[in-house]
C-alpha cells in the first residue's frame, strides 16, 4: 500500500487540486482501490465528494454528513452519531470511510473542529497524541487489506497534523507555484523531510518524489524561477519534468454542480485531461515502480 501525500506549508499552491487529480487517476484509470484522506481543517478535499455540513458547535467549521450506512435503529450503531471523520483517530474511535461516486474511491473526510483540537494539544503530549496516530491507523491490517493507495491532502502548515502525515507517508510530493513565497514553502517541507528521514529505518524510507510546478503560466516570472530551481545541481534532480498549467477548467470541475465531475471524464482530446494524465501517470510510475 502506497501512502502519497501532497504537502506545502504555503496555502493556495494547489495541494487539494493535485490530491483530487491523483486520487481520481488512481481509482478511475488505474482501477486501484484508493482512499482519500482530508487532513486539512478547511475540509476542501472532503467537499469535493461529500456534502459537508456546518458544525453547530463551531459555526466556521465543516463536519461530515451522516454516513450512508448509518442506521439509528441498528443495535450496532447505538453508540455512534452517524458521522465519521479521519479526526476520529485522535479520539480512539474507528474511522468509517465514505463511498464516493467513483467505484473504488473512498474518502475519510475532515472534521474542522476535531482536527483543530488535535492540532492544539499541549506540546508535551503532541508526540503520542498526534504525531504517531495517522501512521498507526494506516498500518493497521484492516486499512492495509482494504486499499492499494492512500492520497492525503494536508493543511498549509508545518504543525503537528502535517508532521503526522509526513510520519505516515511513503511518498511525498511538493506542489508549488513558481513564485517567491510558495518556493519558500518548499524549504519548510524539505526540513520536515530531512527530520523524518533521519529518524526512519533504512527499510522504509520517506521518498520525496519531487517538486511539482503547479498553476504554471508562460510568464517570465514563472519561467525564470522554474529555471533557477532546475539549474541548481542539488535541487534540479527533485524538480519534476511534468507540470500543471494554470487552467480555469481545473477550478470549474471543483464546483458542486459541475458536469462532468472529473477531468478524466472529459473528451479524450481535451487539453486539460491530456495534461492531467501526463502528470499523474508520471507520478504513479515513479511511486508504483
Amino acid at each position: 500500500m502506497k501512502i502519497i501525500a501532497f504537502v506545502n506549508n504555503k496555502g493556495g499552491v494547489g495541494k487539494t487540486t493535485c490530491s483530487k487529480l491523483m486520487a481520481e487517476f488512481l481509482s478511475k484509470k488505474k482501477k486501484l482501490r484508493t482512499l482519500c484522506i482530508d487532513f486539512d481543517p478547511q475540509c476542501n478535499f472532503s467537499h469535493q465528494y461529500l456534502h459537508m455540513e456546518i458544525d453547530p458547535a463551531a459555526p466556521e467549521g465543516l463536519m461530515p454528513p451522516i454516513h450512508p450506512d448509518y442506521n439509528p435503529n441498528d443495535e450496532e450503531d447505538q453508540n455512534w452519531d452517524g458521522r465519521s471523520s479521519i479526526a476520529e483517530i485522535f479520539y480512539g474511535q474507528g474511522v468509517i470511510p465514505y463511498p464516493t461516486y467513483v467505484e473504488c474511491l473512498d474518502i475519510a473526510p475532515g472534521h474542522a473542529e476535531k482536527l483543530l483540537t488535535a492540532e492544539s494539544v499541549r506540546r508535551s503530549e503532541v508526540v503520542d497524541k498526534v504525531h504517531k496516530q495517522l501512521a498507526f491507523f494506516l498500518n493497521s491490517s484492516d486499512v492495509q487489506a482494504a486499499y492499494d493507495a492512500i492520497v492525503i491532502d494536508t493543511a498549509p502548515s508545518k504543525g503537528p497534523l502535517t508532521i503526522s502525515v509526513i510520519k505516515a507517508a511513503t511518498h511525498i510530493i511538493i506542489p508549488s507555484v513558481m513564485e517567491e513565497q510558495p518556493v519558500q514553502g518548499i524549504y519548510g517541507m524539505l526540513q520536515l523531510w530531512m527530520q523524518e528521514s533521519l529518524t526512519r529505518e533504512k527499510s522504509r524510507p520517506l521518498q520525496l518524489i519531487g517538486i511539482l510546478p503547479n498553476m504554471f503560466k508562460q510568464t517570465r516570472l514563472h519561467k525564470d524561477i522554474l529555471k533557477s530551481l532546475q539549474d541548481s545541481p542539488a535541487i534540479g534532480k527533485y524538480v519534476l519534468p511534468v507540470k500543471f498549467s494554470q487552467r480555469i477548467v481545473f477550478a470549474e470541475v471543483d464546483a458542486a454542480d459541475s458536469n462532468p465531475r472529473s477531468i478524466f471524464d472529459f473528451p479524450e482530446q481535451h487539453v486539460a485531461k491530456a495534461e492531467a494524465e501526463e502528470v499523474c501517470s508520471h507520478l504513479s510510475e515513479r511511486i508504483f515502480a
Binding site: 508526540v127 517567491e180 518556493v183 519558500q184 518548499i186 524549504y187 524539505l190 526540513q191 523531510w193 530531512m194 528521514s197 533521519l198 529518524t199 526512519r200 529505518e201 533504512k202 524510507p205 520525496l208 517570465r220 516570472l221 525564470d224 524561477i225 529555471k227 533557477s228 530551481l229 541548481s232 545541481p233 542539488a234 535541487i235 527533485y238
Partner: protein, 338 residues
C-alpha cells in the same frame, strides 16, 4: 526600452534547499535519532570507561554488602550532580546506541543514561546505528566521545589508546604504530600522539603511579617516562606527585643531566665549553644527505604532511637541502621522543 527583468530564487534559499537535500542524501539510513525508553538500554561491559556502578545499582540502590560500596557511593554522588542538570535541562547530546536483540547497547553516554534514570526520566534522546559498529570504529567512537570529557583519568585515556592500537592491529595486521600513524588514526597532534606512545611504553614505576592516579598529566608522564636513569626518574616522580609544574620538572631533569655530564667530562680531557648537543657536521656532497633522508624515511615509514618538503626539495640547491635535513632532524626528534 528598459531591459527585461529577470527573476530567480534568492541565494540564501538556494543554499538552504541544497544543504537540506544534501543532508538527506548523505545521512539517511546510517543512523537515526529517536527517543528511546530507558528500560530498553543496556551498558557495554567493554566500554573503556570503567564505571563501577551499573544499572542495577542505580535502579535498586547499592547493596550495603557490595564490596565496592564506598567507591560506588562516590560515583553515585557525582552522577547525582549530572542528574540534577538533566532534570532541569534534559540531555543535551543524544547518547549513541546500537540494537542488540531486544535491547539497545550503549556505545557512548553511559553516565548520561544512568543519570537520566536517577533524574526519574523514562526516555532519553538517542542516536541509533543501524548496524553494530565494527570493533575498531566502536573504540574510535568511544574514544572521541571520552576525550571530550574532563573527568576521565589518564589511566582510562591510556587504556583507550591501547585498545585502539590493538583493534587497529587486529584489523590491519601487525604494523608498528608510530607517532605519525597514531596521529592519523585518532586525529591528535603529532606531539600528543608521541606523548601517548611514550607513556604507553613507560617504565613500570611510571605506569604504576599512573594506575594509582598519582600522575594525572600526560605531558608530565611523557617527560618522566623519557628519563633513563632510575634514580633521576624516581626523583622526578616524587616531584611530580608533590605538584611540580612541567617547567620545574624539565629544569630539574636538565640539571641532573648536566651534573651527570659534568661528572663524565671530568674524566675526558676537553677544552672549551661543555658539549650539550651533537654537531651534525657539514658536507657539500648532496648525495650523502639524500641517502640519509631516504634511508630514514623508508625505515621509519614516516607518514606526515610535512614529509612533502622532501619531495618538493630541489636537490641541487644546497640551501634547500639544508632546510630539508633540518626538518628531518626535527621530525625525528618528535618521533623518537621516548
Amino acid at each position: 526600452m528598459s531591459k527585461k527583468k529577470r527573476f530567480g530564487i534568492s541565494e540564501a534559499l538556494t543554499r538552504g534547499l541544497s544543504e537540506t537535500i544534501h543532508v538527506v542524501e548523505h545521512h539517511s539510513g546510517l543512523f537515526r535519532n529517536v527517543v528511546l525508553p530507558l528500560s530498553r538500554i543496556e551498558l557495554d561491559p567493554d566500554n573503556p570507561r570503567k564505571l563501577a556502578i551499573d544499572l542495577i545499582d542505580v535502579k535498586q540502590g547499592i547493596r550495603p554488602d557490595d564490596p565496592k560500596h564506598q567507591y560506588k557511593q562516590e560515583e553515585l554522588e557525582r552522577l547525582k550532580e549530572l542528574a540534577h542538570t538533566i532534570q532541569s535541562n534534559g540531555v543535551i547530546n543524544p547518547v549513541v546506541v546500537y540494537k542488540r536483540g531486544e535491547l539497545y547497547r550503549v556505545v557512548a553516554g553511559e553516565r548520561r543514561c544512568l543519570a537520566a534514570i536517577l533524574a526519574g526520566k523514562q526516555e532519553i534522546d538517542a542516536r541509533i546505528f543501524n548496524e553494530k559498529p565494527k570493533g575498531f570504529e566502536l573504540k574510535l567512537i568511544q574514544w572521541t566521545e571520552n576525550t571530550a570529557r574532563e573527568d576521565l583519568t589518564l589511566d582510562e585515556r591510556l587504556g583507550n589508546v591501547r585498545e585502539i592500537i590493538r583493534e587497529y592491529q587486529n584489523q590491519k595486521g601487525p604494523v608498528e604504530v608510530n607517532a605519525s600513524l597514531l596521529k592519523e588514526i585518532i586525529g591528535l597532534s603529532l606531539s600528543q600522539a608521541s606523548y601517548y606512545l611514550a607513556v604507553l611504553n613507560a617504565p613500570e614505576d611510571v605506569q604504576f603511579q599512573i594506575q594509582n592516579g598519582n600522575i594525572r598529566n600526560l605531558d608530565k608522564a611523557a617527560l618522566i617516562a623519557g628519563i633513563e636513569s632510575p634514580e633521576v626518574r624516581k626523583q622526578a616522580i616524587i616531584a611530580c606527585m608533590n605538584g611540580s609544574t612541567i617547567k620545574e620538572l624539565r629544569s630539574m631533569i636538565n640539571q641532573q643531566k648536566m651534573l651527570k655530564k659534568v661528572k663524565v667530562t671530568l674524566h675526558t680531557s676537553s677544552r672549551g665549553r661543555n658539549t650539550t648537543k651533537i654537531n651534525m657536521g657539514a658536507t657539500d656532497n648532496i648525495v650523502v644527505i639524500k641517502t640519509i633522508i631516504d634511508c630514514v624515511l623508508t625505515h621509519m615509514q614516516l607518514d606526515h604532511p610535512s614529509t612533502n618538503i622532501f619531495s618538493q626539495t630541489n636537490w641541487k640547491d644546497l640551501r634547500q637541502v639544508t632546510r630539508a635535513f633540518r626538518k628531518l632532524i626535527e621530525l625525528l626528534e618528535l618521533e623518537v621522543v621516548v
